[in-house]
Amino acid sequence: MEFTREIYWNVGHGWTTLAPMYVLLLAALAVFVLGCLQRIKVYRLGQPLDRTDQRGERIKTLLGNVLLQTKVFRVPGAGTAHALFFWCFFTLFIGTSLIVAQADFTDLLFGVKFLKGTFYKFFSLILDLTGLVAIIMLGGLLVRRYLLRPEGLITKRDDALMHGLLLTILVTGFAIEGARMAVTELGTPLAAWSPVGLVVAKMLNGLGEAGLRALHLGLWWFHLLLALVFIAIIPFTKFRHILTTSANSFLADRGPTGKLTTINLEDESIEKFGASVLSDLRWKDIFDADACTLCKRCQDRCPAFATGKPLSPMQVISQIGETAFTNPAANLVDLVGREVIWACTTCLACQDICPASIEHVSKIIEMRRNLVLMEGEFPGEEVMTAMEQTEVNGNPLGMGYASRGDWAETLGIKTLAEDSAVDILYFVGCYASFDKRNIAVAKSFIKLCQAAGVKVGILGKEEKCCGEPMRKMGNEYLYQSLAMETVEIIKGYGIQKIVTTCPHCFNTLAKDYRDFDFPVEVQPHTVFLEQLISAGTLQINAEAFSCTYHDSCYLGRHNNLYEAPRNLIHTAGGNLTEMAKNRDQAFCCSAGGGRIMAEETIGERINVKRVRMAVETGAAQLLSNCPFCLTMFEDGVKGADVEAQLRPKDIAEILAERL
């Protein structure tokens, strides 16, 4: 027999089928297009932004994310189910397209058929199996959403419609196939190549040919209608994510990770700073809401949400989307809520995991900029005070600027003002300059450099805060003032290389400062020390110890630096037991986003929660390489009452002990 099937069997060939079919298709497409235009009109309420540069790279990313479902896979379980469902549905779509291609074009116009023979056998088999897998995966997703009900997952009527529609399309597809096969293929060797259809055919066989034909015809048109409805309602339902989420892979922020937009403060025509209404955001910020599928992966990883703060990154995106389409003139700050806006630590866990490439953090920072720059509002008086102290003394701690270099007095290193011929400038940072616990880390670092024969210079009283916490709190003006002063001073000394023991300083000097013509090389101390050890100039005597390691957000997710610190721990002889949430899944210590200056007043303390995670590893030391993390953990071990069990330490201290 011929391995093929008659397309349009029983439905009818010619215009009686094609005409209504294509009219309906055009109608569906018209609705689809109108829906898209409606949404595009709302996106355009936002400010312009060009995301079409690096086209080749962007397309590659798009293809990787969509076809390989790379980001979706980062969370197995639901991720795998979705990936499989997508591949199967996509395969079915290709299959149907091939059928349309042959039936309505190649065969109709040129008499060319390709759905035959061995090709058709595998075609049919693959489509049958993918159809089955699609139904199983969809069933699984349905069970997850409606029976298992994961906490925090938002379910709307939209979801029921989507599950129902797709399931019906898939099931009717098999029913149609079964009805057809019952009449045309039962008993033939071809039937085995459509195993699912075969089972259905056997089930339906009792209806007799007339009944089967009637069923087939009805279901065929029904199935076609549903498919066209599906197309038509894409822009009006979460189905839109097929286009928007995919597009977001293309439109994603390819800039240095986590880098904020820099306001041009020289532009005297700018009268408004930050975002208080929808039209202050960029069009991409509105589009992000449409790309969001409410998968809650961001919310699941948000340290603020996990400890009872009202901040849910997903909710923020959702609220922006909702207001864009219902009430674009609404005040965003009132809508989202101040407590929500101030709770963010910019840890980037949300953006890092988001399969839709949504930019959560920049929206929050824009709202902070509005509060700070336009209203002079802060999360609390203590933050305003910290800002004012930074203006007066160049540090948020309110310590006299003239004593900033005093910690190094007896260490045999000089300030650049005294001697600028140095191998590296050690940019100390505010905490390591003034806070006793962190001064110990600075001293350890100097000890290591001196042991390696590295000539270190510091700015001393010429050093000011790098401005990072201020920038993240929304005070772009104060940040830029500090940044420009710092850039000028460092360039004035002709420094070639800067090393810092603070990831926030590192991130800011290495990324943010590039806006100000600042080409100097910047390294975090763990990378620098690792290089010294590799080069043999720094010898460490390994001495075993038990520890766990906390990945600081600003080294980890912000800069992809996970291995250098671990290598150092290994070199030092550390027996490292990882926390469950490590590397890109690390749980923030709470001090980022400028919150080192603020009081944590809502819910459970984030730092205590993280300390408890460290305690679970059974390790004796909690290692980190960030002054904020160290400060938070010292507080945290007291709060969790585990001072005797767990000692927070910086990697520099561990190494210095082993010289």
Binding site: L373, F378, E388, E391, N393, M399, A402
Partner: protein, 256 residues
């Protein structure tokens, strides 16, 4: 309404002070400078008053060398309309009566309805200038206000008293008020206001230094010896308790 706010630029109190070469004051080098904290409340109250009445002109005045203009800009950014910088490089040496005379000299032709000042400066802390200005101008003065209300020329204030209680005092303009900490919450200047401040009028005038005469002289300027000098007590607890009580009696006025 015509309103004057007198402010002073002082060093940040967290600074490490050194004695100057003359042994008469602190060395002005290596210090971070800021607006006298008490004056911030004065500026804020004046700005709030302007927001309330609408038609008001705020002049901020400061005496000192060129560097005080930085601090004046903050007052302008908070909402003052214009600044008057009385250029005097020796301002730090002047006595309160001399400062008050310079201010009164400027103010006497201007008919200010209200003059706001801080109740004292964080460095000299003499708490004299405000009241002296009022006396020289012949207008009433009320000190240490922690509450302020204004209605059609009627001024109602609350004075802070020892122990935390308050006295309610009413008067009419013109009046000079010295402000205590906690009168309000000084605002953080918004960026548009910081930008506008750059364009506001900031005149420098030379003071009339004739007729000023010193009435007092600093004969010594020094760091106090640390009471106890950081004594470390170790040993048997009952003895430590005795020793501590003895120290408290000796070094503080706390135990009778």
């Amino acid at each position: 309404m015509n309103i004057l706010i007198c402010i002073k630029q002082v060093p940040d109190m967290e600074s490490k002070f050194k004695i100057n070469n003359e042994g008469s004051w602190y060395d002005r080098a290596d210090l971070a400078w800021r607006m006298n904290e008490y004056d911030e409340y004065a500026v804020e109250q004046a700005v709030r008053l302007k927001e309330q009445v609408g038609d008001a002109d705020l002049t901020v005045l400061c005496i000192g060398p060129d560097q005080v203009k930085e601090t004046m800009k903050k007052a302008l950014a908070m909402g003052c309309d214009r600044g008057v910088h009385v250029a005097d490089n020796d301002a730090y040496q002047r006595e309160p009566i001399e400062i008050a005379s310079m201010i009164a000299d400027f103010a006497k032709t201007k008919n200010f309805d209200i003059i706001f000042t801080g109740m004292q400066s964080q460095d000299r802390g003499s708490a004299q200038v405000g009241v002296m200005v009022a006396e020289l101008l012949g207008i009433p003065a009320i000190t240490t206000i922690v509450g302020f209300a204004f209605e059609n020329g009627a001024v109602q204030v609350k004075r802070e008293l020892e122990g935390g209680g308050k006295a309610l005092v009413n008067t009419t303009t013109p009046v000079l008020l010295t402000c205590q900490l906690g009168l309000n919450t000084p605002r953080y200047p918004t960026l548009p206001n910081i930008m506008k401040a750059k364009k506001k009028e900031l005149l420098t005038i030379a003071p009339d230094l004739s007729g000023l005469g010193a009435r007092q002289e600093t004969t010594a300027f020094y760091f106090p010896e640390r009471k106890g000098g950081g004594i470390v007590l170790e040993g048997e607890l009952p003895e430590l308790a005795e020793k501590l009580i003895h120290l408290l009696k000796e070094k503080t006025g706390v135990l009778a």
